[in-house]
Amino acid sequence: MSLFEADRLWKTCRGLHVEVHEVTHGPLRRFCLHCRDFLRDNASEEDLFWRRLGAYTQRLRFDLAANPTSFAVASEGAAERVETYRTAVTRRMRGYPRLAQQAIDLLEAAGSLVASAEAPLLEHIFCADLLQCEEGRPVGLVVPEPRYLSALRTELASLELEAAPLVTRDLASQDTYARLIFSGPTAWYPDSVITSPRASELVFVHFDWVGPDRPPRALLPSEDAPGWSRKGLPGLVRRTFKNGDDPHEPELIPDMEPTIDWTALFSDVATDGSSGEAASLTLGRLCVLEGGWAVLLRGYDEGRVYAISFDHDDVSIRDMLVDDLRRGDFVLLRTEGGGDYMVELAWAYLGERADIVRSVLRHWKMALGDRLRTAGADEVARELTLRGATAANAINVRAWSGEDRIQPGSRKDFDALMDLLGLGESADEYWRMGRALFRARVRAGHRVRSLLLKQVKECDLGKLHEQGRADFRVQDGGGEISAFRVVALAPEALEVPSYRIQDPFRLADA
């Protein structure tokens, strides 16, 4: 970027104008209210059916309110789902009369919307001349979800409307626009869209029950001048566009953004894939991925996963801490061939030594597993600490007993462990074996990274961002590795069979 281009970005901060356009739509507002009441009333319901229905209608509500395309396009495929749910609800009418009636009302309100060709937000954007600009520079239309882009592009083209469909990520580039129109309130977008604007005119268009339009956070929180009147902010101009058929008083519906019912998902994970066979347990962190997929990632401290890192235009593959994953990151998972290719490749690198290393690891890990079963993780951790270990805690000792974690990283911890298991005499030899496997994994990691990086750099990154997934074929018999966009990461880890780690699966309600 040249100094001139950098200066252009700084200049958009000057004379910034921010407007909020609130529009109304009676049927959608009624559906949103039904949805709010249904979610509130079945929040403590233990039957997962109702919770899944709640989660589904919450997602549908967000799509209808956030995607500026016509309702039918925004809710593609929903008509069938709504009908299926309606049938299922009818069957539960006798057992849950009140909840079922509430659900029927909700689904009826949804049914009429998902078949509708109305597009109130887009109509407003067109009628308010927001797509017109005199400067000859493009106007950008920003949506909160990348999955809306494809349909939005098609709809804009069919209506012959000239606007660039964008998501927040596009606003990190150096491109600037004559005006940026955001579908939704400021709360649905990161502060940077206002504090580092890519146009000097920003218009947030949303329904009048959606919000809030909160000001960006100040670098140093202060109570002196809160809100939009804060120094350095342009202030906010709010304009309301009412139509006659919905003369209600605006009432903000909180929590419009879909949330994830982790309890329901954990329950799915607990029942899914349980073959009944004895398998070593490890800690897994559930991660919801784009397109109705999920995966269990290494859940212990320092658990890592390969991810694609985008630093503006620079793409790299990084070995990221699972803890550091954020919504929008792309994790790389093997989707053909099973398990973790890097682990498999590491064993291959060890060659003839692999069998010995495997048997050594199995030997002490089984002994540790027995000890954990009899004494418990806390007691084992305490005993290790008494023997000089520095990182022994219940989580780590369980992780050390799993197949995924080779051995403690510190020699002090390892010696304490060997001493506890009565293997002190073999400590040196066992440590060397573990280190050999570690080095093989590092080497395998470099190999996998270099194999993938070339393909990732050559792939259509725009498409990757839009679709939230891309598949890469790995040479050397590595099968297929897919990049999935992270939707959410569970706040806590749960104990799962180690073979399920890094093995993506479809969610039940996808």
Partner: protein
């Protein structure tokens, strides 16, 4: 800073001054460069719409200020003359390898036969004993007066002036330009994406009002871009795993990006640092929260810089913190 009235860039074929935000960044670097002589250590957090050129311009300010400031700017001859005209017995600090030892000046002696002059010092070694050292004239920067605040730990080497251009001379003046090309030292370290930083230092054309053109690298002389054997004034590192120097810390560390700041701030725990955070970065909020945690934890205090620096330009938010003693 004087350099700001001379340095500009080309727009529509003619010279225009640097944009206000760019000038502010150079001023900030200058302020930090001046402060580097005091014991107070600053932590500056900058939230910017784009990181481009920010670290480079802050470094420019640091390097120019430290080259201009008399405390840092005595030429080899001038420094030698000061030592030579000082009475024996004056307390000095002497750099030996990577250590700085206390001692007293003994005197100057000409070795004869074209071998040049040497400075004698008596130092107190780490065992508490005394030993004598003879420091050749060309290495006299290793000796500094104990009652003056200098970057005693800097390993300074003398070089013959190379690459002195009219661009540098017009920007910073002939005396400072000579000093920049005369000896190597690290005034500033920047951690960040090296390819981007390198491009900013080498590819963007800057102009003086009199028409000489050049790149920022000509002035800041960043290692490793400046070339092997040529004196440098700053260092670029792509990863915070790199140690800026062996031994003592450099005066100013710039972290270009939130991720770099988060992974490397501990490396600058004893020095002044600047974190350049692009608000569009995914780790922006975490980096700001880290800085605020210093404030909440009482490790730093807020500093009022009104009167020292111009008001911050539109689009920039800045936090000025000072490490508590």
């Amino acid at each position: 800073m004087e350099v700001l009235s001379r340095l500009g860039h080309r727009m529509d074929g003619s010279w225009v001054p640097l944009p206000d935000w760019a000038q502010w960044m150079v001023e900030l670097g200058g302020t930090l460069g001046r402060r580097s002589q005091s014991r107070a250590r600053a932590v500056v957090i900058l939230a910017v719409p784009t990181r481009n050129f920010v670290s480079a311009l802050v470094s420019l300010g640091v390097v120019v200020e430290r080259a201009t400031d008399p405390g840092h700017s005595l030429s080899l001859e001038q420094h030698f003359l000061r030592l030579a005209t000082t009475l024996p017995g004056a307390a000095v600090n002497v750099r030996v390898g990577d250590r700085v030892l206390e001692g007293v000046l003994v005197g100057i002696r000409d070795m004869g036969a074209g071998r040049g002059e040497i400075i004698g010092v008596r130092i107190t070694n780490e065992d508490g004993g005394n030993e004598s050292r003879l420091v050749p004239k060309h290495a006299c920067y290793r000796i500094q007066f104990a009652d003056e605040e200098h970057d005693l730990g800097e390993r300074r080497r003398t070089h013959r002036a190379k690459g002195l251009s009219s661009f540098v001379e017009e920007c910073v003046g002939p005396a400072t330009a000579t000093r920049l090309t005369e000896r190597a030292r690290t005034d500033c370290v920047v951690y960040g994406t090296r390819s981007v930083l390198s491009a900013e230092l080498t590819e963007q054309e800057f102009l003086t009002q009199r028409g000489a053109s050049g790149a920022l690298l000509d002035i800041v002389r960043a290692k490793p871009l400046v070339g092997v054997g040529l004196p440098h004034r700053m260092c670029l590192f792509s990863s915070t795993k790199h140690q800026p120097t062996q031994g003592p810390e450099v005066p100013i560390v710039v972290f270009d990006g939130a991720r770099t700041f988060l992974s490397g701030w501990k490396r600058a725990s004893r020095t002044s640092c600047v974190a350049v955070l692009d608000r569009t970065e995914s780790k922006f909020v975490e980096a700001v929260d880290l800085a605020l945690s210093f404030l909440r934890g009482g490790e730093v205090t807020l500093v009022d810089v009104a009167g020292t620096l111009d008001p911050v330009p539109q689009g920039l938010e800045a936090l000025f913190l000072e490490r508590c003693a």
